[in-house]
Structure formats: C-alpha cells, structure tokens
Assembly symmetry: C2
Homo-oligomer: 345 residues x 2
Amino acid sequence: MTVSGRRGRRPTLEQVAAYAGVGRGTVSRVINGAANVSDQTRTAVQRAIAELGYVPNRAARALAAGSTDAIALVIPEAETRLFAEPYFSGIIRGVSTELADTDMQLLLTLIRTPKERDRFAQYVTAHRVDGVLLLSVHADDPLPDLLQEIEMPAVLSGRRGGEEPVPYVDCDNTGGAQAAVEHLIGRGRRAVATVTGPPDMYVAQCRLQGYRDALRAAGLEEDERLVAEGDFTEEGGRRAMRELLSARPDLDAVFCASDVMAAGARAVLREAGRRVPDDVALVGFDDSAVARHMDPPLTSVRQPIEEMGRAMVRVLLEEIAGRKEGRDGRSNRVLPTELVRRSSS
Amino acid sequence: MTVSGRRGRRPTLEQVAAYAGVGRGTVSRVINGAANVSDQTRTAVQRAIAELGYVPNRAARALAAGSTDAIALVIPEAETRLFAEPYFSGIIRGVSTELADTDMQLLLTLIRTPKERDRFAQYVTAHRVDGVLLLSVHADDPLPDLLQEIEMPAVLSGRRGGEEPVPYVDCDNTGGAQAAVEHLIGRGRRAVATVTGPPDMYVAQCRLQGYRDALRAAGLEEDERLVAEGDFTEEGGRRAMRELLSARPDLDAVFCASDVMAAGARAVLREAGRRVPDDVALVGFDDSAVARHMDPPLTSVRQPIEEMGRAMVRVLLEEIAGRKEGRDGRSNRVLPTELVRRSSS
DNA sequence: AGGTCGGTTGGGAGCGCTCCCAGACGTGAT
DNA sequence: ATCACGTCTGGGAGCGCTCCCAACCGACCT
C-alpha cells in the first residue's frame, strides 16, 4: 500500500525483473509458482514485487496464456424473481466465497431475452471465460447443450432430468420432501395432501416422489385427490389449496413444494376458517424469508444453498483443471436438506 | 479436442482482414465505428465478419487499448443478508439491463473480510476495471476515498452523508417517509410513532426527518417517546415496539423505517393484543416480500430499485466517458419513492 | 581431463488488438 | 502538367504476459 497510485503506469513484469536483477521468465515463474526456481532468486523476486507493488496485468496474461481466469454465473431472468430469496443471493454468496481463494473473477450474466442469450452464446463460443455456472436451467434450455458442444466446462444447479450430461450440483429434493411428510405423519396427521410444482420440472417430480415415498413407508393411503398441481407461485398455491379443500375436506396436513405456494395455501386455509396448525398442519420447501415471516411461522425444508454455490465452483474448477490435463472427470454432487421445524406443524 | 486450453480456431482480426481483402487497421476501424471508412469497404468488412463469425478478443483489445470494458459491482457482505430481497437482486437486474446494450461486462465482487477488501483495492488500483459500482457503503468505509484517490470512476448507491464527494444514486428517503406518515395522518391517526434505523446511517436520518416533516406539516405533537431506535433487524423492531408501547400505550400508528422491523413490530403488537390496522396502523419501508406476505399485508414505501440500478450504470458510464475526455461531470441522481397501500393501514 | 546430466536462467517469439503514421489516391487550384 | 490538400488505407510498433528453447552451471561420472 506504500506505492501511491500515481498516474504513471503500473509496474510491469519487465520492470520487476530489472529491479530484481533477473530475467522476465524468472519473474513469471515465481508468480505462477513454477517449481524450478532457486530459493534465493525467488526471495529476491518476491521482494521486488512487494516493493514495486506489482500486480499482474490480467489482460496480458489472458492474451498470452489463452485462458481468462474468469467464470460466468448465468441466471435466466425468470428466476431472479421467483428465486429471489434466499436462493439467488445464497448461491452468489457461496460462489463468491469459494472463489475468494482463487484469483478467478466472477462474471454475472442475466439472460432474459433470446437476444441476450445469443450474445452470451457468442461470448462463450469465443472462449471469453474459462467456465460457466448455470442456474436453474429449464428442460428446454439449449444452453447446456451448446456449452457441451463447444467443450466449455460448465456446472448446473439442479438438473433437467434424472440423467444429465453436464455436471450438476443438486440438493436431495426427494429426501427433503420425504422427511417433511414423515414429520407430518409423526405428528399424528393421517390425511396428508401435497401441492406440487409444475410436473415438467424435475425438482417438482422429486418432491412429489418424496411425498409418495413417505406415505408408502408409513402405510398410509395414497389418494390422488390429495395431490394438487401448483406452479411455484402464490396464486398457484391458492388455486391448488382450494382444489384440495373441495376434493378432500377432511385433510389435516399439507406439504407444499415451495414456501411461496405455502403462503398462498395458508391464505386460502384462513379464508376457509381452518386453523394452522390446529386443523391443518402446513409444511413448505426452501426455508425462505416468507417462511419465517408467515403466521404462524412455517415449517420448511432448508436447502444448503450457500454450500451448493461452493460445491458448484469446486466442481467447475475440477472440470476446468481436468480438461486441461486431458482428464474427463464428470462429478456431480447431491447435498442433503434439512427440515426446519416451526409452529405451522 | 486435443489440449482444450489451447486456442480453438476462432477467427482473428487478421483473418477477417484477409478474407475481406483489406488491412487490419480497416477492420479495426469498422468494428469500432471510426468515421473514415468508405461505405463500400465497410460493407465488405461487415460481411466478412458475419461470414467468419468473428468475435473480437477482449483480452487483446484490453491489452492494446488499456481499457477493460468491464465494471465491478461491489457488495459489502453484511448487506447481502439484510438487503437480500428485493434490493440486492433488484439492483443487479437494473444494472444488468442497462449494461445489456453496452458490451461491458459485469464483475461481481462480494467483500466480507478486510483481506478481501485489500484484494479488491489492489485490483482496482491496478486498473483492472473501468469503473466501480459501490452498494450501500457505510460511513466509515474507506473504499470510496480510495477510488477517489486513484481516480477510478465510481458511483455509490445511497450516500454516507448529505455531502458526498463521489457520485451517487439515491432515492428520496425523506419524501417517502413523509408520504407514509402523511398517509397515516390522513387516515385519522393522531399518535403516530416511528421505529428508526441506526442513527449513524444517513438513510435512517432521512427517514426520521421525513417523519418529523409530516408531523410538523400536520401540526401534530412531536413527542420523543414516539420515536424508538431500531437497527433494521427484526429483533430491533421488536425491541423498539415494546419500548414504544410502554412509553406511549395510546399510540395508534407506527411508521417503521424498514419492512423487516415492521415485521418485528407486528409480532409485538399481536402479543400485546393490538389489532392491525384497527388499533394500530402499520407502515413499513422497502416494499419487500416480507411486506406482501405479512398478515395483514403491509403498507410500505417502494423504492424504484431496478431504476436505481440503471441510473447507477448511466451515471458511471458518463463518468467514465467524461474522464476520458477530461471533463469532470459529477452528477448525482435522486429517484422518487412510492407508497404502496395495503391493509395494514 | 573431458563428458554428462539435472537444475536454473535469460530472452525471443508470439497472443490479437489498437494506435498512429506514412503512403495512395483523388480533387481542385495554379 | 504541377502542386497542395483532403480522404482512405495498410501495416509497423507496441500493450504485458506466457511459452519454450537454448545456454549456463556446478556436480558427478568415466
């Protein structure tokens, strides 16, 4: 911090080399931690770097080395509203944390129009980043395949289906849902309903599966009238709840595949004069702010979101390193969820 | 397919030039929209670019031109929780929108430790970005001054005080608070209390000022027992509300300087057996998801967050362009707020 | 003594682009 | 026909770095 930010140019590798009385190559070696440098030389160079306040020029490095030291975090616009909290910021926090030790940069890209998608496609095609983190892809998203095709390292959050050609990091949606429903059953509920997500989303399928698994394991009835389709919106939750109430007025618990839908369901329950949790126990999924602020506070399944962000980075970096070495280590990661009990159940 | 880190066969400027039968300089001129190029040549070059699918290499351009075509969005860690929603994502959305037309990149930087701050300081000192967007700076944050010193274009969201040497974009906190309180008074409330933010934050001062302005304008009493200090957390809101209730049990309305604090206050009111809005009307600030999901839904002051993000980018780009031309246009922007009426008041 | 070998080191050759200058080519005036 | 002047254009000279190869050096053999 001693070197003041004078307008004069920042010191270059060359100047560091001259100052330390060595050649350019040697300084480069020290900076990049190459092995064959004598301790003496290394020390001298490090001192020169410190004294000159040298910071490598990223552009030059990228140009010469052909790598960018940057990864892109891509977020489809639709999601920024839906997942606003805590998903969005949680992932970013995790990613950023994991990246802090690296000297990689995080490039944020929101994609909301086909035009923007094209621009991004062009961008990655031109290899302007070393890797891509793709948030909540939809089943019909062409981006993963494009990335695959141009051999750009990428990691998805969640997956589009059971099989996924691109590495992904996901949480245990099935297990989380199952735990939630088991919890409900454990509290003595017998007519447990569920509000699902859109059936074409894999995550919704998993959560529904978890619901079914729990019922089956407990030997409880599985009635299709206890299953209503939502769409991860509050209004969808409201609609589904009305449906359930009229099909099975005797239900005594509802597992909603998202907190936001639970909020909608809760409103309908109130209108119908059902008390929560006395008459109907309610459980959500996501453990969002909405859950904490509902009345009564909502029991919900927490995803380790920040940890997922970190895992995504780790997998991506492995992937990048692996490709460079010709390896091909496709490693996915599925993280456990956790039931957060509050007074709604 | 071989060593993937190596250059794929992306076309270069040189190849475009050869293909179009012109010189490198000419292609460069076309790409950068320089004036002196004949229409015929320009067309030929553009065709070559399209046919070859040429995309300029950013690193090379940055190296040669000395500019990076990237700006950094800096977020102090503490804020990512507090402002999680909708502030955080709203700003990002606005910034991203405004940047979409440019070919600037958005670099996201979370700063949570002194070490990370230093790293970032070093980073900007080395001029690795063209400009910086700084979110919710605290009064004692050294970053703005550092940026000022190294002459790095920067824009703050909000300000640290009335006077601010660095350009900023803010919303009309005073006016918003005033409108909220006027609304309360308009509904016939006479003992209007307020829960403030931390007094060392300018934004908290402004909102308190707005509260006072409204009271004064209406000729209502200003009782210090009607003012309780919060800290923008839910627990703080709870504490402040208890304080208020014991000091002035007759209060019939509360203006909270944030939705989260309003949520805390609401819980205390419920415990105390006060109905909202019948006994006590409640208004918050931020119009966050919390407000929409409270029971009853919370009247709140909406900030044009997305618009603020866009404004920040506009100001920053102006600043960058201005510096390049030697101009020095310090232009701030204060955007209006809007009261969103719901059933809590 | 000459030869070999592994560990170091210096520096040339680019990476793909922008900047800038000199040259080519009109045009109108002399 | 010559000259001056503008408009376009080509391409050399870097930007700061990594890669790589040749050169060097002492140590250890033969």
